[in-house]
């Protein structure tokens, strides 16, 4: 838990996107490639055959093409929350490039992190979370401490005094009850 090299966060959900209307979070994609180098051959193939389908299907995404001489191909996607993701496409086949662009389109711009808990709720308790003054006498708010009322413990067992008094009173009670029975 104390290792902060791997980014981690609790589960968060942008609950409003898609509930009413859906807003594509991808703002723009830039396809970077070289016009002649061999590593960009799949990228060039993708641009020739598959890119226009993508743009026509998703007119809300701005597409840029950036030829860079002697550099490996890559995709740069920028999102509405301002984040920027770069993905290397060197060595990836045409099908893979298609799938990665689709992946970029469907993402929110949130950073990919280790999820600590795969559950989240905005209402963790219906009974309300405990605080120190729950189930306490509201008179505590106006008492001045130390207070006799809240301090005194009146619980005692039967003391010798109580036993003595009980016996004496019991004797007299028995005498009375015997007399009533005799009368009857």
């Amino acid at each position: 838990m104390s290792n902060n090299a791997i980014p981690k966060d609790f589960l968060k959900n942008v609950m409003q996107n898609g509930v009413g209307r859906y807003v594509c979070q991808l703002q723009r994609i830039t396809f970077r490639f070289c016009k002649s180098h061999g590593s960009s051959r799949f990228m060039r193939d993708f641009i020739e055959n598959h890119l226009l389908d993508f743009t026509q299907k998703h007119p809300g995404v701005v597409v840029y093409l950036q030829p860079r001489r002697h550099r490996a191909p890559s995709i740069v996607s920028e999102y509405l929350n301002g984040r920027r993701e770069v993905m290397e496409m060197a060595g990836k086949e045409v099908g893979d490039i298609c799938k990665w662009t689709e992946h970029m389109r469907t993402r929110s711009g949130v950073q990919i992190v280790n999820i600590l808990k795969n559950i989240h709720t905005d209402n963790p308790s219906i009974q309300d979370i405990w605080h120190p003054f729950m189930f306490k006498d509201p008179e505590l708010a106006i008492t001045k401490f130390p207070s006799e009322k809240f301090s005194v413990n009146l619980k005692t067992g039967k003391t010798a005094t109580d036993l003595v008094l009980e016996e004496l009173s019991a004797d007299s009670y028995e005498n009375k009850s015997k007399s009533t029975i005799d009368d009857k």
Binding site: W130, H131, P132, F145, P146, S147, S151, L154, T156
Partner: protein
């Protein structure tokens, strides 16, 4: 809003306890619960969520039977010949808060946060508490035992009304229980250990 809930749930409260005529060891058990935070439903083993406890009237604490004479506090200074044993009544005369402090300390044995918890225990011999501490208090811990009624607390009417169980013979000597060689306190010990 959530952080306000967090602050209120994990807040550290201040309690006050009146130790007048209470058993030191039973009180220590009660105070231990509040110091650890075991009175809270959010208690966790490794989480330090205990509360502060202010104890007043430690001067008037009670011990059962002959513990004032027989209960000893042991101390070794870790130097040769540095071992000493002191009776509870001597310790009490020297420092009226020491007995309860020791009792709570021994009760917290085995707990990792013992030092921090003891720092949150505030003991006062009488009911005088500094204002900055007393103003923090928001709750009172109930006393551990009921204070028994002394003979002085009974009114003369109640004494007269109490039924007489038996009559002593006229020639009965009420002082006869006192032994002949019964000495004043502190005289039965050697000169080395007498209080100056």
């Amino acid at each position: 809003h959530n952080r306000v809930i967090q602050w209120s749930t994990l807040a550290r409260s201040w309690w006050i306890y009146d130790a007048n005529n209470q058993c030191a060891f039973r009180s220590a058990y009660r105070l231990m619960i509040y110091l650890q935070g075991k009175h809270k439903p959010v208690y966790g083993n490794g989480a330090d969520i205990g509360d502060h406890v202010v104890v007043i009237n430690t001067q008037h604490i009670a011990l059962r039977s002959n513990f004032w004479r027989t209960f000893k506090h042991h101390h070794h200074t870790r130097y040769a010949g540095g071992y000493s044993r002191t009776s509870a009544w001597r310790v009490h005369e020297m420092d009226p808060t020491r007995i309860l402090e020791r009792a709570v300390h021994n009760r917290l044995a085995g707990i990792e946060f013992r030092r921090e918890l003891m720092a949150r225990l505030h003991l006062f011999p009488e009911a005088e508490v500094p204002e900055n501490i007393l103003s923090n208090v928001t709750g009172q811990i109930q006393q551990v035992q009921a204070i028994p009624k002394k003979l002085q607390d009974y009114t003369q009417e109640e004494i007269d009304k109490f039924p007489r169980l038996f009559e002593l013979p006229a020639d009965y000597d009420t002082e006869s229980y006192k032994r002949e060689n019964r000495l004043e306190p502190d005289k039965h010990t050697s000169m080395k250990y007498r209080l100056k």
